[in-house]
């Protein structure tokens, strides 16, 4: 303990080391603060959407006299609330929407909508705690550890230190612990504050802190392996910076490039267009054939399926759904392509610890690509409930009025799949 205190004191006497730790602390604090601000903005936007929904529904109630109108005009909110760790790893929440209002029309024309966002802000990447952990903390660790031995040798103190009893246990060990621990502390303190403000579940907070510890351990080990090799401080610093640079900047970007080149995702625009073609061709297709195909999927609605000679909503919503089915396999291929890319990226994460750790953080915070795909699946499941709710009215000719709007199934962000 006294060894640690002594080394902490020595570290505290180095102005450069203190400045580096302070800068890292400020960055981690700013990352957490920006993360909290972003998350609370996301929550506020969701709350505004939910608070605004009654006004939309009362406007609809003023003229709805048919289930078809309710289904056609009744947009329903869906949303993907930020998890209790999202503040620390914002992940992809800025480039994939976290709110979407949908209606019972063909879903493929609705589900790919984007949120309003300035792409120039997404371009450089997020400034959150995960960024500070993956990018900046390693640099500070490198700065503090690269000349652990070489610095003493170059200053001529190495032999004097080595000549003391149990130097490894009394000097180098505590020195490493103090320096790596200092970096860890300036990362974990802001994280703990953020977690306390958010009310993160202790177990999840602990798991996230574990990833931060792993990141620091990894870079500490790398820095020590290089520092031990007996080269000069400048060579150590250059080698470590080059390693950081290769592992954090170049290799993940190259891996992303290779994965995108290796796994082709079907053209989404063609998919959406094909959906539109099929839905609109529905107007001109023989109506009986449309209903037969639909009833094969929903035989329970056969009794009420007779069509008047003029327009009827049940026919309209039947061909809307058939339009979705028409591109179902293409849509699945599109999702699978993205999921495959995400899987490969995860595999690459095992080889590229910075990418792996960053993905692990986003995964735990449910802000990664997988979480976005899961949200889309929840939207799909909800869309099915919404459609089927209206089918019951349309095919049974049950009257539908303003009061029935209140019984429309609601989206459950927690799952409800």
């Amino acid at each position: 303990m006294s060894d640690l205190k002594r080394e902490a004191w020595l570290l505290g006497r180095s102005r450069a080391a203190l400045a580096a730790l302070l800068l890292l602390f400020l960055c981690a604090g700013a990352g957490v603060a920006l993360g909290l601000a972003t998350v609370s903005r996301d929550r506020a936007a969701i709350d505004r959407m939910l608070a605004g929904q009654p006004a939309e529904e009362s406007a609809l109630a003023a003229f709805v006299d048919d289930a078809g109108y309710g289904a056609y005009y009744g947009f329903q909110p869906t949303w993907n609330p930020p998890s209790d760790l999202a503040f620390a790893a914002l992940g992809n929440r800025d480039i994939a929407p976290t709110m979407l209002r949908i209606r019972a029309l063909a879903l493929e024309g609705q589900i790919y909508e984007n949120e309003a966002a300035n792409p120039e802000l997404a371009l450089p990447g997020r400034f959150d705690l995960a960024f500070v952990v993956v990018y900046l903390a390693p640099l500070v660790l490198i700065a503090l550890l690269h000349d652990l031995w070489s610095g003493e040798r170059e200053a001529g103190r190495l032999y004097a230190l080595q000549a003391t009893p149990a130097a490894r246990r009394h000097i180098w060990g505590p020195r490493i612990v103090v320096r790596a621990g200092g970096v860890l502390a300036v990362l974990l303190v802001p994280f703990a504050v953020g977690a306390a403000i958010t009310g993160t579940s202790p177990l999840r907070a602990l798991a996230f802190a574990g990833i931060i510890v792993l990141a620091c351990l990894f870079w500490t080990a790398v820095a020590l392996l290089v520092a031990r090799r007996g080269n000069s401080s400048a060579v150590n610093a250059a080698s470590l910076a080059a390693l950081w640079f290769a592992l954090t900047l170049v290799a993940p970007a190259a891996a992303g490039l290779a994965i995108n080149a290796g796994v082709t995702v079907p053209d989404g625009a063609a998919l959406a267009r094909e959906n539109r073609e099929d839905v609109h061709a529905g107007w001109d297709r023989p109506r009986d054939a449309t209903m037969q195909r639909f009833l094969a999927l929903y035989p329970q609605h056969a009794p009420g399926s007779a069509l008047p000679p003029t327009f009827h909503w049940k026919w309209y919503f039947a061909f809307q759904h058939l339009g979705d089915l028409h591109v179902a396999s293409a849509s699945k291929a599109y999702r699978d392509g993205i999921a495959r890319r995400a899987d490969l990226a995860r595999a690459a994460g095992w080889l590229l610890p910075p990418a792996g750790l960053s993905q692990a953080m986003a995964r735990l915070a449910r802000t990664d690509v997988a979480a976005q795909l899961a949200y889309q699946q929840r939207i799909r499941a909800y869309h099915t409930r919404l459609r089927e709710f209206y089918y019951d009215y349309l095919f049974s000719e049950k009257p539908f009025g303003p009061a029935d709007l209140a019984t429309v199934p609601r989206f459950d962000p927690a799952g409800g799949m």
């Binding site: 006497r13 102005r15 200053a155 001529g156 103190r157 000549a163 003391t164 009893p165 149990a166 130097a167």
Partner: protein, 239 residues
């Protein structure tokens, strides 16, 4: 007979494929001051490094206070204070902070009064005690480091060229200090080029040549303690 503070017999140390120390034997009694002289590359510093356990020995035996350095280097280092040739301190710390730090590293913290006494003992001007080491002259650094070594209060002290770079007055002070140490029972092994200084202080002088003690002189109880002419010619023939 008590265990000698330093006992070396037939020591062999190789660096790479070169045999630097080759059959060196040397034993120090408590309070004895031994000066090891020799040309560049004769094996003086290598011997010190072998005692400290920085270098492995390929043959012979080497114990400090009866402890084999190969078996337990830490137990050895606890009994040894080592003063490197180019004393380097932490420039951003004061003399006192440096000494405090190194003493704590060595596991033997001392009180402020002790440190003051140590500085006084080595003749470091009081104004420098709380001054940053960055501004120190070589002599001041040396004195700080010697104070540090003395404050360790170990039975054995290893000094590597302790008076190089010191002005004659400071070197003289230093030799008086060594005599005090000797009287306190501390055994001192110093590696030096300073023939006169050695002759002034040492109880024995060894001339190291090709990795072993080629000749040895013992101080006589009367003045002059050594025959300077013999030392000079011995030293000259060794080169």
């Amino acid at each position: 007979m008590p265990t000698p503070p330093l006992f070396i017999a037939d020591l062999v140390v190789e660096r790479g494929d070169k045999r630097i120390v080759d059959g060196l034997s040397l034993s120090l009694a408590p309070g004895e001051i031994y000066a090891l002289l020799g040309g560049n590359g004769a094996g003086k510093s290598t011997t010190l490094f072998a005692i400290l356990g920085f270098l492995e020995r390929q043959g012979g035996s080497l114990t400090v206070g009866g402890v084999d350095v190969a078996a337990n280097p830490d137990a050895v280092r606890r009994q040894v204070a080592y003063l490197p040739e180019n004393v380097a301190l932490y420039d951003h710390l004061t003399a006192r902070e440096n000494v405090d730090y190194f003493l704590k590293v060595a596991g033997c913290p001392r009180s402020r009064a002790d440190v003051d006494a140590g500085f006084e003992g080595v003749g470091l001007a009081a104004a420098a005690w709380d001054e940053r080491a960055a501004r120190f002259s070589k002599g001041m650094r040396q004195k700080t480091a010697i104070a540090l070594a003395l404050l360790r209060e170990t039975p054995l002290m290893l000094l590597d060229e302790p008076t190089s770079g010191l002005d004659p007055a400071a070197a003289g002070d230093f030799h008086r200090l060594l005599e005090t140490l000797g009287r306190r029972g501390v055994a001192v092994l110093m590696v030096t080029h300073d023939l006169l200084g050695a002759a002034d202080t040492a109880d024995r002088i060894g001339l190291i040549q090709a990795g072993r003690i080629a000749r040895e002189w013992t101080a006589s109880p009367t003045v002059p303690r050594f025959d300077l002419n013999a030392l000079h010619s011995g030293f000259a023939s060794a080169r």
